[in-house]
Symmetry: T
Subunit: 144 residues, 12 copies
């Protein structure tokens, strides 16, 4: 059975608590519950990781590359727009990775409209709420 990793970056531990008018009221636990249900349907296993530390996420990519998961769904939070180091970690892991954003970054402030990290991913999904994670999961589960 395939394992797919779900990584959430800085501030996503505060989902539901933080700016609910932008990100909604559901929490990270709610998200993980939804994704587990979806994974059951798709016949894959999930591993979850959340950190506010760029370095810890980079460490995690190295660990996942060694462990050999089938793919990664990542929401890099604010690191999306600034972290060359995280981009290098994604590229270096060799793991197929899909970037997800809950809100539509293309319609927000200027400094959120470009993604540094997405260039090292297979692709990106933005603005579809929690649904974006489920869709990315489905994409990786069905990919051979």
């Amino acid at each position: 059975m395939k394992t797919i990793a779900i990584i959430n970056g800085p501030n996503l531990d505060r989902l539901g608590l933080r700016e609910p008018e932008v990100y909604g009221r559901a929490t990270l636990a709610d998200l993980e519950r939804e994704l587990k249900a979806e994974a059951a349907t798709l016949g894959v296993e999930l591993s979850f990781f959340q950190s506010n530390h760029e370095g810890a996420i980079i460490d995690q990519f190295a660990a996942l590359a060694s462990a050999g998961v089938a793919g990664v769904v990542i929401n890099p939070g604010g690191l999306t727009h600034t972290s060359v180091a995280l981009r290098d970690a994604i590229a270096g892991s060799g793991l197929p990775t899909v970037e997800v954003h809950i809100s539509n970054i293309h319609a927000r402030e200027e400094f959120r409209r470009q993604s540094v990290t997405a260039g090292a991913c297979v692709g990106a999904i933005a603005g579809l709420g929690f649904g974006g994670y489920a869709l990315a999961l489905r994409f990786l589960a069905r990919r051979d």
Copy 2:
């Protein structure tokens, strides 16, 4: 039963014929067949439209707004990066729209990394091949 519109912009009639090393060998007809199968599963109807004319796509948005479809999946092709008029048409239609790109625009030439049109959409999916259309369809079908 909900209807969801699938719109393909300039050059997508040439899918499978055009730069197959970038876009793959499957044709627009193949894509439509896949989406119909997916739609059956999801219990929605589809309408298809392809044009190389910016104006014709804008007309189509007006027509769809009058007809009252449940959502639109659009791949604006090269118009993505320049067409304010199409952006206005999307915004003006009031229809929930998801932008899809077959390739990962974030990893291509500089002038393909920004989307003018996505700012008027609910969100965007890039780099997931034909799968991106199916995921967008699923998102719109499940949305209330």
Copy 3:
């Protein structure tokens, strides 16, 4: 009796239907009725043209140049900010043209603050609602 052409570009067929909080509830038909009344007062005839096709508007400029109208009032919609081809058509027609925008483009998103097409016009009016068309009409009617 002078004839003055009124050209409306992409999405202006949707006036009154599209983003009424920005553009108001009056329709293109309402606009044309108002302009006809104004034209009667000014003693000029009007011709109307609306298209969502950049190419069709360029064709129309060629036709008007042959027909020899006294001037053109144009709202290029989203083409304002990108269309060098339309700018060339305006310049190439040799017709005195006034650009009109219903909303104040100077106070909107960054990408709407510059006009590519206005450089080929006699001048431009922005932000005065439907009134801007009537004023442009009056300017062209009184000009010798």
Copy 4:
């Protein structure tokens, strides 16, 4: 009876004397005479103010806001492209203001193509010569 203020900024006292190939040979006095005739037709009163001093124009906006005029027509001259302070004064006055330029700023040097002040106005008219003032006046007179 409504009063509308006409404000002319730096160098417009030199109209007719200065670069007549760009701005024409008519003087500021000629302009004011034309506008008075137009005002009589429209049934409004006018007040005139010209200054080469940014600060004096800002003072004038404060005075007009207290006096309660119905609107302002302003040609900010060279301040158009640089004065955030004047923009703040227009916004702070709460008075409906229309910006006017005699020449078509969209077709001149790069540094004249953007207006800092127009973002705080209702709208702007450029390139229609003295006629632009009369049209702005008419717009404000007819506005309720």
Copy 5:
């Protein structure tokens, strides 16, 4: 016998009528006559196409790719500087294409100095008047 396609974009139907001080007094018909004479010398056949519609030109590229012509000479007019969709159409056709400009775009306004479309062509010729078309034709005729 080889066939080479000659495509003229927006406003080139107005050759000879439009800004003759920039583009000269000869018409599109004159150009086509000259090119036919040149083609006779070179032993190739020509097909001609002119449109003011970006979409129609893109359709034409798809048609030519199916028909299998030996090469294309294109003057994209104002689309040169903005149309990613046309660039995609050229690239997607797989046809050797030479871009031609009558005037020297390198010596004109800033916004005309870069070509978006030329990046998908074999090469480009600018500033050599009608002669540029003939030279491009000769290049394609002699190429194996």
Copy 6:
């Protein structure tokens, strides 16, 4: 006893009248009253100056430099973002100066996020409302 000068630039005479949703309802007189109370506590004297004229503020800096005050608190209003001449006046006076902004300029429009004048000051305080003036005053009063 030390004297500290309080200088308010363009439009700050309109405090409480102008855009109260941004700047609040308290007036310049209210501000001066609050600062006098604070000055009494701190054992310093105050001089007040407000002008909408860049030149008058520059004159004032020259006068204060001759008079030898202990420091200056300045809110340059819209001049903050544009006036090299005022920057030169602050630097040229040799007086320790603290720049104050009522609103948080870092969270406003792009053109308000950089300060030209603060580079010639000791430092700057933004976004703390009237409180910013009191804190700047306290800083200068306590400084030896």
Copy 7:
């Protein structure tokens, strides 16, 4: 009794040791001693936190939001100019935060003149040395 948190970012543990000609010779311990004295006067309690880790500071904001402190004084050090993730943490905490810089960032290298994080704060104080912290503390203590 209110608690106010004092957060110091990267390299501020090296105060007094690092580039004393820019930042002075007093240490972080000296700063904390000064602030405690000030807090006693103001009748508030303080909590101190310093870290060179972006992630640890983001964690701390989440902790403080749960604990419910009355406000935060932060000097983000070099993260000021680059960290969107920290900006999101400040905004997401909902805590009134004042940004402080010891030196005047407006008078330093280009890359230090813009603050990414200040846009999510109530306001910012720069260039007033240790005094800036005390003033920020006073502002938050007096705020209701």
Copy 8:
């Protein structure tokens, strides 16, 4: 006998008092004395004007244009880099004007390296200290 006007802009009344390490210790009175001696040699009369007010300098240009002086030597101070209104005044006066800077603006901060006003002058002299004024005077005196 020819009259030549010497105009000094903002902060030049503070020469000798202000930043002597940049501008030297000689005062404006010293400069005027030196220029009078030079004028005597050249057989021309001088008029002097200094103001910190942009508007007053613009007024002065209008007055000099009416009075008909033979030329103007201007040091616009900080207005050099920002004032489109002053540039317009110079151009509008029709008077041959030479711009002078005491220090070498090409070797100072980025924002001092471009001159907005020099584009409307005959030419410009920078970095030659007081000597620059004398040379500009000589140029205008010898010019016919």
Copy 9:
């Protein structure tokens, strides 16, 4: 009999030796032989000049202007993108000049996509290999 000069700039002496995958295996001598054959057909004489020295090429333009050749074909190599001095030499010679590039500069690195020198030429040809020289020669030979 007309003489036309062929000038090759830096590194073109290395044709055939240097990066053959970009520039082909034919040498400068091969190119000159081809052009001589073409010249014979066209009834013109050729002069050849190659240098790696910007100054020598500028000297050559002065010599050719004195000698009175009928036109110049130049491939400025890497100087294309940087040399204002060469641009001035071309403009100053008054000789009709056509710029040629072997590869398609529009499809290469960012810094090769703009030509400084082409603005002073009659026109430019890029991407047509050695054929571009022959076409430029033909253009100049046929021009009267």
Copy 10:
């Protein structure tokens, strides 16, 4: 005996595993072995540190500054291009530091061509593979 510290930043723990076509197949352990051999020759001691955490590297600089090593060789990985905080740590440590990159950053993507951190170092070496570390070590060992 001098000690020199070798610091490797994010993702360099993955050397040999990550993108071997760019970085080669040798591992971090291989690198450290090579450097130990070199150090023996040079008569210096080495300390090694690798971390994916910006904060941990900053902490390490503080520790090394206290410990008093003779110099630092650092490869900051992706932090090179973004981390002002790391730049401050290098500058704040007072330790002579040489920046090393395995690949030639000048020949890679635009965003890798500038180094934020190198401005605080003695110098930088790029593109010489593992050899760059050895050279930096030699430089610091021989420096007095």
Copy 11:
């Protein structure tokens, strides 16, 4: 007796022959004759040097630095806007140098408005024709 060197850069050997509508009809020999007359009056000797070769001018600066002239007047022609190497030569010579331009570079094309070389000079004179050289000479002759 002091010697002052006059250096003219690329294309200035063509003065009077090249674009006389921009640079006038007088030749380099005329200029040198005028300057000799001026030098006689000032009691200084002149040496003249003109070259179209950047390298030769740099060599000349080294030679003049060894010879020990009292100053240099240079018109770098097109090198002004591009040559960092020439800037370094001027700075490296330690010779007081004044840059001269015949035309007013501030009123010409964008790429001529900035000087790379002037930052290493004492100052610069532009737009005063041949007179600019004479004034620069006078400045250096009188300087001690």
Copy 12:
């Protein structure tokens, strides 16, 4: 025995004479003596070349490519930041080349922070004084 070429560009003949506070007091002869000693140790021969002429250095690269040296150490001086022609010469020679700068270009003026030429080299060393040459030599000597 391998030969390695040492090339020094513009102004490096003036080492020790020119701006010694930036570049030190040792001369080019001193540098060459140091490198000869190093070469003896490494068992390689050296050839030296210095020129202030871009063209001469390009010629030298062609000569070295023919002669077949084992590598090149180049300090391009001011050409580093501007010369595309030199970049082409390095690439075209096919010789492994290491770029060296005596000072740390990353810590100097903006226009010195990017290298045009380094993109065609194996790598680059900056800021290590004369030592940088020796290290580059060692790198090339040890490379197979």
